[in-house]
């Protein structure tokens, strides 16, 4: 039996009928048509489907759409403003934080919550913080750099160098 749900995605309100078994990630991609949220493993391991629900990072492949009724959801489509890209997007761009880009939306949404809770994380804290997000291209170093950069930008500190680091 279908249920009617109302929720906000990136500030816009939607009311739709869904089957209780509809996963939130399918709802966002197929019912709403926002495909920036990706499906990687579909088993809550990879983090490609990470979004924010009321500001908390969540794996949308492991949450039912009906559970999101009344909630405010943020996806990658909602983080830039009319002013320009979000500092985390700028961080990934400036630091070559992606190759294929498949993990990037989830990685950035996760990083936004991480930086909100811990505005000036150590490298180790960042690595623990993104431990639920897999990237098969970068080897993570540039992702960590991107998050450090975004943290500095959000704090209003001097931005770290974006020069590549070569290991002898």
């Amino acid at each position: 039996m279908k249920k009617e749900i109302t929720l906000k995605i990136n500030g816009e309100e939607f009311t739709k009928e869904v089957e209780p078994r509809t996963l939130l990630v399918h709802f966002i991609r197929e019912d709403i048509g926002m495909t920036g949220t990706h499906i990687g493993c579909d088993t809550s391991s990879c983090g490609a489907c990470t979004i924010l629900i009321d500001g908390k990072s969540a794996k949308s492949c492991t949450i039912l759409a009906v559970q999101a009724a009344g909630k405010e959801i943020t996806t990658v489509e909602g983080i830039a403003t009319t002013e320009g890209v979000h500092p985390i997007q700028e961080g990934f761009k400036e630091n070559h934080g992606l190759h294929c880009g498949f993990c990037t939306p989830g990685m950035m949404l996760r990083a936004i919550e991480l930086l909100e809770k811990n505005p000036d994380p150590t490298e180790e804290e960042i690595r623990w913080g993104i431990s639920g997000n897999l990237c098969r291209c970068t080897g993570y170093n540039n992702i960590v750099k991107s998050i450090i950069y975004a943290g500095a930008k959000l704090r209003g500190d001097e931005l770290p160098s974006t020069e590549p680091v070569f290991v002898e």
Binding site: K3, P20, R21, T62, L64, Q67
Partner: protein, 290 residues
Amino acid sequence: MIPSSFDYTAPSSLDEALKLLHDLGDDAKILAGGHSLIPMMKLRFAEPEHLIDLNNVPGLSYLKIEGGTLKIGAMTREVETEESADIAVHFPIFADVAKLIADPQVRNFGTLGGNLAHGDAANDQPAVMLALDAVVEIAGLDGRRTVGIDDFFYGFYSTAVQEGEILTEISIPIPSGRSGNAYHKVERKVGDYATGGVAVHLEMDEQGICTKAGIGLTNVNPTPLRAVRSEAALVGTSLDDAAIALAAQYASEDCNPSTDLRGDIDYKRHIIRAVTKRMINKSKERAFKN
């Protein structure tokens, strides 16, 4: 992967949830954080006809200290125990264990109550609750009852929470004197189940003599396992190296691991011995730091 069809209700009170559960019987499952249940439903290992979602039931999510007891509401998220400064004073073990449960996104939703009620010996919180001598409160239409943690785990996916009942609260006695606790598990990668894990809680008198020891083991037995002989080997000692080595040896002998992709039996016994020793030492260190 999409679960098979089911009906969904999100009641707004515990009574309503209990009535629904009573009426629907075996066909219904309780949805807490959903991070064990939904993956199982996607794989069709579980095909409930009805989900009763507790997320809109108020008053089930809290961490409070009341009369020498730490009380944890069943719907309290793992992340809350990880970040609570109040808890960290007596129970640094919660920061240890939370960090090793799945990953941050899962901990934002996974609940303490769900972790226990799932009844999986591979989960980490059960061993911690054994070490800390927790008491579990279970509600039914007839009222509430409490069950000691030693009588809670019946078998694989089976606990003292019976048909028509909902786990509501976990109580943990707060130690009055010098105490320390710690948890660690060996895992192949972040988010994996334990190859083997050990929770230790120690209490001691002013002379440094151990007065109480709790040791719980993760994923080396069909149910979460209390290392009874190891605990006895520590009580009454000054937690000297010989006593610690004996306790670790007993733990490795008394667990019942099985061979799987994470390792063979000998390897797992070795892990239990090594981690038991390390966690006793860490608990002792923490006890003397307070």
